[in-house]
């Protein structure tokens, strides 16, 4: 499985992904699920992937091959973020056309989910979630985030604290807490993590980090969130049934 989350707030975009893939519990590997398309001062796009690894790698690979072809539409040629979402959607459909029949023969579902966010030129930052059919939805202030993969464990904390007015570093903190809740409750999600922050109008990655087991800040988040949750539990009054 996988857990990836992308957020769009007033100050920009924050993305976080884990790196575990598994085909059964005895076939666990580490694959990064974040791809960045960046041309400084022009655009920065971040693509997160979840689902069947052969499918999601094929989509990313197609986009990379196209990037070498001057006549092809790619995240580097897209004129808007919606245009980029359509280009990624078209790549998903090309992989579907190529592989879906063979996968079906083997009883394998065409399972793939994507989060695409970023900023191109003067357009405001935007965030999309793409489905296996190549169609997509866009984040709005009411729902400023998308999750793909093993999303349920880490959803309550996001639902409670994330707001569009939040500073990017606080969003990063929120996503790391959400990931920690997921890591604790589900073995199919694992370190290292990829964290990317794109400040509005920077048109480049403001920060990209790989967060491993020995990352000092993530260790602080884990231990202090654990202590804070225990405190929070004690702060809720006990029952007075009568």
């Amino acid at each position: 499985m996988t857990y990836c989350v992308g957020t769009l707030v007033d100050q920009g975009l924050v993305f976080l992904s884990d790196s575990r893939t598994n085909a059964g519990v005895d076939n666990v590997s580490t694959f990064r699920k974040m791809t960045v398309y960046e041309r400084t001062c022009d655009r920065v796009l971040v693509l997160l992937t979840a689902g069947n690894l052969a499918i999601t790698q094929a989509v990313v690979s197609l986009l990379n091959e196209d990037a070498a072809d001057a006549s092809a539409a790619t995240p580097y040629t897209a004129t808007t973020m919606a245009d980029a979402a359509r280009i990624v959607g078209a790549a998903i459909r090309r992989v579907y056309d190529r592989d879906a029949v063979a996968l079906k023969e083997h009883g394998i579902e065409f399972s793939a989910n994507f989060i695409l966010g970023g900023q191109i030129g003067h357009e405001a930052p935007r965030l999309f979630q793409l489905y296996a059919a190549g169609n997509y939805i866009e984040a709005t202030p009411e729902t400023p985030y998308f999750q793909i993969g093993e999303s349920k464990y880490g959803k309550p904390v996001i639902d409670r604290v994330l707001t569009p007015a939040m500073a990017l570093d606080d969003v990063a903190k929120c996503l790391l807490i959400s990931m920690d809740s997921t890591l604790r409750s589900n073995l199919s999600v694992g370190l290292p993590l990829d964290l990317a922050i794109c400040a509005r109008d920077a048109l480049r990655l403001s920060r990209r980090l790989t967060v491993g087991e020995d990352d000092a800040y993530f260790r602080t988040v884990r231990s202090s969130w654990s202590a804070a949750m225990e405190q929070a539990f004690h702060d809720v009054p006990g029952p007075s049934w009568d």
Copy 2:
């Protein structure tokens, strides 16, 4: 969907279930998912159900019909909790034998999950989870709880705070917080809730409550947990990336 959780701690057992069932988002109803088998000073058993409502109701109904038959094995005749788990498992298999073929014809999976906990006579309290196949597992001190239904949203808080040494009222608080996280993130789980507490060796329900929208204590839990979570988030230090 549904969310039910049962816990076994040193002081006894606590159970919590929601009451929402849905067949699609436009066919939502309220059905209680908690059944109690109680004979004061002799035994108290609590059965929680999740899955296909026709199947789980059929199982409970069979057990109730048997209770009227002096020669039948029922939760009231079981000599131990493991015996009771086998009796419930046998009822699940009888429903399977009767309905599974017809359900399969209609493309409907035989989906049913059960939590059974309680205490019979001098035996210590025990807690079981039963599967659609009628087989079961038993809780141990390392994993003193079972969840069925929409379990992921409410799992992180239980994983962090529940311990076997916890007082029954604190366990109830923990389960209500877990349920609140689930209610906030998932529409297929809904009020009212059924809460049951069985103190060790009481051999009767120590407390049984229906918790509705206007329940004063649950409102306190919801608002103070929300405030405590926000405080917990602020208590975690912000990132210092360098």
